[in-house]
């Protein structure tokens, strides 16, 4: 009896979390005349909404922009954050504790405080409507530094000493010994960074005006809000599906990293 109530709660919750996305997926696959009909299933499914999205807005370009921005941000965060994480965990230099304190301090600054000044900086650098505007301010993350530092500290010093004996430079030690030994940390930092960058909408809406430079969230937002979609439900939903499919695919493979990573670091914003 008690078990039954438990499962009832869980199943109701699961349905309420999944159903809206299913509805969206099915609507995106229905023809215009069919979309209004109640219920999910239709007599036939079609890709015409997806064709319409590609014809009405430069969504291919937006997908490319999103991929470029999210992948380069992720690569940069992993490389530079692990560099700093390594220095803080394994190198001895005067000022190390100060740098560590600064990393912790920066995490306490509310983003709302620096948003407008940061925007004026981008304007003065002449970076409006460019990839540097979308990537550069997010190239290193304090969260990434902390995760790498924490992981690297537990790797024994003997490995470093042995490598140094054989004449390995510190950068080689980081990339060929520490990286392979820290795959879970790298996947966690990578996934969180990629997801945040891929989903980010406020910053692109500040520094991008030209349609060719828009990333996916901004593109579908202006498409939906600007009335460009002409209220065609199926087309709007198809555009949204194109945004979430890459994240869903990653989620299918790295579910554990998504959940544990986000739960242990908190979500941005």
């Amino acid at each position: 009896m008690k078990k039954l109530a438990l499962y009832l709660i869980l199943i109701c919750a699961a349905v309420s979390f999944i159903y809206p996305f299913l509805w969206m997926a099915f609507i995106s696959l229905k023809s215009v005349g069919d979309a209004g009909a109640r219920g999910l299933l239709s007599s036939f499914f079609t890709l015409q909404n997806y064709k319409a999205v590609f014809m009405e807005i430069p969504i291919g370009r937006a997908l490319l922009n999103s991929a470029i921005v999210a992948l380069s941000t992720t690569a940069s965060v992993i490389f530079f954050s692990s560099l700093v994480g390594y220095a803080l965990a394994k190198l001895r230099f005067s000022g190390r504790e100060t740098v560590f304190m600064i990393v912790l301090l920066t995490m306490m600054i509310p983003g709302q405080l620096t948003l407008i000044p940061l925007y004026t900086l981008i304007v003065r650098l002449g970076w409006i409507d460019s990839y540097p505007a979308l990537v550069a301010p997010w190239m290193i993350s304090a969260m990434g530094i902390l995760i790498f530092r924490q992981t690297f500290i537990s790797i024994p010093d003997d490995l470093i000493e042995a490598a140094r004996m054989e004449g390995c430079g510190e950068l080689r030690i980081l990339t060929s010994i520490f990286w392979p030994l820290s795959k879970p940390a790298m996947v966690t930092v990578g996934i969180i960074t990629f997801m945040n960058s891929w989903n980010e909408v406020l910053w692109p809406m500040m520094v991008v005006r030209r349609q060719e430079m828009m990333t996916m969230p901004q593109m579908i937002t202006t498409f939906s809000v600007g009335g460009q979609s002409g209220g065609e439900l199926g087309v709007e939903m198809a555009a949204s599906m194109l945004l979430i499919i890459p994240i869903l695919a990653a989620y299918a493979f790295f579910q554990k990293y998504f959940i544990d990573g986000i739960a242990s670091t908190g979500i941005k914003g």
């Binding site: 078990k3 869980l10 919750a13 699961a14 309420s16 979390f17 809206p20 996305f21 509805w23 969206m24 209004g36 530079f80 560099l83 700093v84 390594y86 803080l88 190198l91 001895r92 230099f93 190390r96 740098v99 600064i102 920066t106 509310p110 709302q112 405080l113 620096t114 948003l115 407008i116 000044p117 940061l118 925007y119 004026t120 900086l121 550069a136 290193i140 530094i145 510190e170 997801m195 989903n199 909408v201 406020l202 809406m205 500040m206 969230p217 579908i220 937002t221 939906s224 809000v225 439900l233 709007e236 939903m237 949204s240 869903l248 989620y251 579910q255 998504f258 959940i259 986000i262 979500i267």
Partner: protein, 288 residues
């Protein structure tokens, strides 16, 4: 010896140099420049003009700004209790011995990983007065359509419900971790004393979930003060500013009116309020 130390120093500095440079340009400079901006009026085209405390004076008397803050409080008043009650309930169900635990966890977490822009566009359709699923369901029960997003009283609560739905998976996982941290022997002691499950919940589970509760409340507050895309897509801040969020208001001043100095002042005040609210919450939830 000295040379060895110098070499070590050099490598340490080389590894941290990119971060220091990054920090100076994208954190320290904007931080300092915000102190400059709040005392100036600037449209990005003509040179900034020193205006003293005028921006702050204007902010104090700006009813739209206070309305935006009030809207955030309305949001929090619905969001936090709903979040805490439902998340704990579902987390407690998940903590039991059940099959398909991984599936349920993954399903609840799904909205967390989806872009807020998509979730908002999707929910705008679900909330639609004429064709949305909520009004269709109400229609089946013979209830007249409700104006979820187009009435001043309901628009903000509707957005709060959506935000609760979007983030709940995250909070369920946090509460689940908190629940699993409670030592099992505590419940065994109470079994001997013959207390009911409800008493256990009030006297063991809830008090021990306090640290998680603080985390959930603080993170929800950060989220509430960051509301932007939700009102931007669903209502544009309306009707009658009833869903205007502080960040959306700041965005409008910066991008519709080019009021950089005033927008920076709004950001400045918002940051101060966030720190204050979080300190109050910490003090209140940390004690006893």
């Amino acid at each position: 010896m000295t040379t060895g130390d110098e070499r070590k120093d050099a490598i340490g500095y080389a590894f941290t140099a990119p971060y220091i440079l990054f920090l100076l340009v994208f954190t320290a400079y904007p931080l300092l420049f915000s102190f400059y901006l709040v005392f100036h009026s600037w449209d990005l085209i003509t040179p900034p003009e020193y205006v003293g405390l005028k921006n702050f004076y204007f902010l104090m008397h700006d009813t739209d700004f206070w309305q935006a803050l009030l809207n955030t409080l309305i949001f929090l008043a619905i969001h936090i209790p709903a979040q805490v009650v439902f998340s704990i309930m579902i987390a407690m169900a998940l903590a039991e011995k059940i099959v398909a635990k991984t599936f349920f966890r993954a399903a609840f977490f799904l909205p967390v990983i989806i872009s807020g822009a998509v979730v908002t566009i999707l929910w705008a359709k679900l909330y639609s007065t004429d064709t949305g699923i909520f009004n269709q369901l109400l229609g089946l029960a013979g209830i007249a359509p409700v104006k979820w997003l187009t009435s001043t009283g309901l628009a903000m609560p509707s957005i709060a419900v959506m935000a609760t739905w979007k983030n709940m998976g995250f909070y369920i996982v946090l509460f689940l971790a908190g629940l699993l941290n409670i030592p099992a022997h505590l419940y065994e002691v109470s079994k001997i004393e013959g207390t009911t499950r409800w008493q256990d919940f009030w006297h063991i589970t809830l008090p021990l979930l306090r640290p998680t509760m603080l985390l959930v409340v603080v993170l929800s507050t950060f989220g509430a003060f960051s509301l932007f895309i939700e009102p931007y897509v669903m209502t544009g801040g309306g009707p009658l500013n009833s869903t205007m969020s502080v960040v959306l208001y700041m965005y409008k001043h910066a991008f519709l009116f080019q009021h950089m100095g005033y927008a920076a002042t709004i950001g400045f005040a918002l940051a101060a309020i966030i720190l204050l609210v979080v300190l109050i919450q910490k003090k209140y939830l940390d004690s006893d």
